[in-house]
Symmetry: C2
Subunit: 367 residues, 2 copies
C-alpha cells in the first residue's frame, strides 16, 4: 500500500509534484514526469479515494436513489441502474446504489455523509418528497422522470403524455373508434408516479382530439386477475357474435415490463388475435428486448435518459463547486440558488416503431 510519499521519495521529488502529475494542473518537466511514472509503476501506487475526497471534498461518485416500493419495476429499474453506471463511468464517476424502503432516507444519508457528489432519482412522483430533501440539503440532483414542478430540479424523461396521445391519434386515424388504454398498476397511480399519470392524461387528450373513445384500465400483476380483467374489457370472442360490434378494436399497453404476460394471456382470455382482431401498441418497452421487438411500440430510451440525467447531475455538482466564474456578483449566492440556476431538462419525444406486423395502422376489424 504505497503512498504518495513513497512515490515521491523513490522518484526523488516532492509529494506535491507527484500529486500534480496525477491531477495535471501545473506544468511538469518531461524528465520529472518520467521519474514519477517509473516510481508509480515500480511501487504499484494508486491514490486513495478517501484521502482525495477528504482533502478535496469531491468523491467522483454519483448516487442512484432507488426507492424499493413493493411490486414490479425490477426490470426497468435494474436496466437503468446498469445504464447509469455506464454513463457515470463515461464521465469519470462511479455509481452508488442506494435502495431504501423510505424514499428519502438513503438519499439523505448519502448526502449528509458525503458519499457522493450528486444524486440521480428514480421512480419520480408528481410531488416528490425527495425534491424538498435535496433542496434543503442543497445537494445536487437530477431526476429520471418529470415532476409537477418542472423547474425544481433538472430532469430527463420520455414524453409519456405525447407518447400516449400520438398512439391514440394514430389508431383513431386508422379507423379505430373504441380503444382500451391499459395503464400501469393502480398502485403506481395512487403513488402519484409521474409517468403513469402523464401517460393516462395523454391518452385521454389524444382521444379527445381524435374524437374517439378510450377506456382506461390498469394492469395487474397476477396473471389470472389480469386475464379476468381482459375478459371484462373485451368479452370473449368465442362466445358467439353478440356484442362484437361494441368491442374495442385497439389496445394500448403502458406497462414498462409486464406486457409479456398480458400478451401471453390475451388470446387465451378473450379469443382475440393480434393483429387480426385487435390492434396492439406497447408504450415504454425496453430496448434490445427480443420479446417486444416485433410489436408496434414506443420504446423507453433508457440509454439516452441515463446519459443525459447523468450529465445533468454532474453539471449540478459542478455548478455548486465552481460558482459561475466570470459572472459578476455570482460569488456569494447561496448554494440553493446556484443549483436552482443550473436546472436543465430533456423531454424526449416519442418515436413510434412499427413492429414486424405493422399492426399499429391496421384497420379495425369489419363489424
Amino acid at each position: 500500500m504505497a503512498t504518495i510519499r513513497d512515490v515521491a521519495q523513490r522518484a526523488g521529488v516532492a509529494p506535491s509534484t507527484v500529486s500534480y502529475v496525477f491531477n495535471g494542473s501545473r506544468s511538469i518537466s518531461e524528465e520529472t514526469r518520467r521519474k514519477v511514472r517509473e516510481a508509480v509503476e515500480a511501487l504499484g501506487y494508486h491514490p486513495r479515494a478517501s484521502a482525495r475526497t477528504l482533502r478535496s471534498s469531491r468523491t467522483r461518485v454519483i448516487a442512484l436513489a432507488l426507492p424499493r416500493a413493493a411490486g414490479g419495476r425490477h426490470a426497468v429499474d435494474g436496466r437503468f441502474a446498469i445504464e447509469l453506471s455506464d454513463a457515470a463511468h463515461g464521465l469519470g464517476y462511479d455509481l452508488l446504489l442506494t435502495t431504501s424502503e423510505d424514499k428519502a432516507e438513503g438519499l439523505r444519508r448519502v448526502a449528509l455523509s458525503g458519499l457522493a457528489d450528486a444524486a440521480v432519482l428514480m421512480a419520480v412522483d408528481m410531488e416528490d418528497a425527495r425534491i424538498d430533501v435535496v433542496r434543503e440539503l442543497a445537494f445536487p440532483a437530477a431526476l429520471i422522470g418529470r415532476p409537477a414542478d418542472e423547474d425544481a430540479l433538472p430532469w430527463a424523461d420520455l414524453d409519456w403524455a405525447e407518447a400516449a396521445a400520438t398512439t391514440v391519434r394514430t389508431l383513431a386515424a386508422a379507423g379505430h373508434r373504441e380503444l382500451v388504454y391499459l395503464a400501469p398498476a393502480e398502485r403506481e397511480v395512487s403513488a402519484g408516479r409521474s409517468y403513469a399519470l402523464r401517460g393516462i392524461a395523454g391518452a385521454r387528450r389524444g382521444a379527445a382530439e381524435a374524437g374517439c373513445a378510450v377506456e382506461v384500465a390498469h394492469a395487474l400483476d397476477d396473471p389470472d386477475l389480469m386475464a379476468a380483467r381482459l375478459r371484462v374489457l373485451f368479452g370473449d370472442a368465442r362466445d358467439g357474435g353478440a356484442g362484437a360490434g361494441r368491442r374495442p378494436t385497439a389496445l394500448v399497453v403502458q406497462h414498462p415490463s409486464a406486457h409479456h404476460h398480458i400478451l401471453a394471456s390475451l388470446h387465451a382470455a378473450t379469443g382475440l388475435r393480434v393483429p387480426e382482431d385487435l390492434a396492439l401498441v406497447v408504450i415504454g418497452t425496453l430496448p434490445d428486448d427480443p420479446s417486444s421487438s416485433r410489436l408496434p411500440r414506443i420504446e423507453l430510451p433508457v440509454r439516452t435518459l441515463a446519459v443525459e440525467v447523468t450529465r445533468l447531475a454532474v453539471a449540478a455538482a459542478e455548478a455548486l463547486r465552481a460558482p459561475a466564474a466570470g459572472v459578476d456578483g455570482a460569488e456569494d449566492r447561496p448554494a440553493a440558488r446556484l443549483l436552482a440556476d443550473s436546472v436543465g431538462h430533456l423531454l424526449v419525444p416519442p418515436a413510434p416503431l412499427p413492429g414486424a406486423t405493422g399492426s399499429l395502422t391496421a384497420r379495425p376489424p369489419a363489424v
Copy 2:
C-alpha cells in the same frame, strides 16, 4: 457542514467523546450522551464517510463488478444489482456498481483506490481472470457463480447442473424420449460462463442417466433467427404428419431472461402448442415475473444468492481485518492466506415449480 469539533464544542465535551458516542466502544455517562445527542441534533451533524475511511481504512461499501459483455443478461444483472443493494444495506453497507468493458479493470481500480471493502463478482466464467486479480491484490471477494476451482474464492450459485439433470430425468420419467435443451446463447458458452456450461453438462448427464435423447441447441437473440431454429428443431406440425414420430416431445429452456420471445414464437414457428403438443420447462426464471409464473420452471433464487454472497463478501472483508483473534499463530499469516482460509460456498439445490398447467409431467403426445 458541522464537524465533530463543532459538536464537541456545543456539547461542552471533547471530540473524542463525540466519536465514542457514535462508535460506542467505551462507556459514556447518560448525561454526556444526552448533551452530545442534543448538539448533534441542533447542528445536523453527520460524520463524513471519507474521514472515517481515511482513518479506519474501512469504507462500508461493497463493489459489484459487472462486466458489460455484449448482448442480453440485462434483466438478470439488473435484478441482481438491486437485490445485492438491498442485501448490502441489510448488513450496513452500500453497493458501488462498477461496470466495465474489460472484465477486470473496474475491479482493479476499485480495489486499488480503496473504494470498497470487498467485491461481488457477477458473470463468472469457469476460469475467471478476476479470480487471479483479487488474489494478487488480496482483495476480499465473493462470486455469484461457481468457478471451476471451487476453493479459490467464496461463491454462491444455483446448482444449474442438477437443475438441468433433474428436469431431464423428470421429463424422461413422464415418458419423453426425445428432448431439446435450449441452452444460453453461444457467446455465453464460448466465453466459458459457468452457468451455461454446467447447465448443458447437467442436461447431458440427466439424459444419460434416464436413457433418453437430448439435443442441445442455443438460444438466439433475434426473434426471426430463433423462430427458424425452432423450426429446424421441431419441424412444422402443420406440414402434415410426416416425421411427427421423430419430433422431440419436450423442450427445456435455460435462458435467464429471453424465454419470453421463445415462447411467443414457438407456436407461430412450429404450430406446436404447449402443453398439448410439447412439454415445456424453463430453468432460471426470475422470481415475481408474471410472464413465467404459469410455467413449470426452476427459478433463479436471486434474493437468496444475493443475501448469501453479500454475507460471504463481508465475511471475507472481516477475516482480513480481524486475523482470527484467539487462534494462535494466526497473527502473521499473509493476507492471501487469511482470505483463502475463509472461503465458504452455497450451492442452492433446484426447486422445481409446477406451473399452472402442470405440463412438466404431461405425457408425450400420442405418436
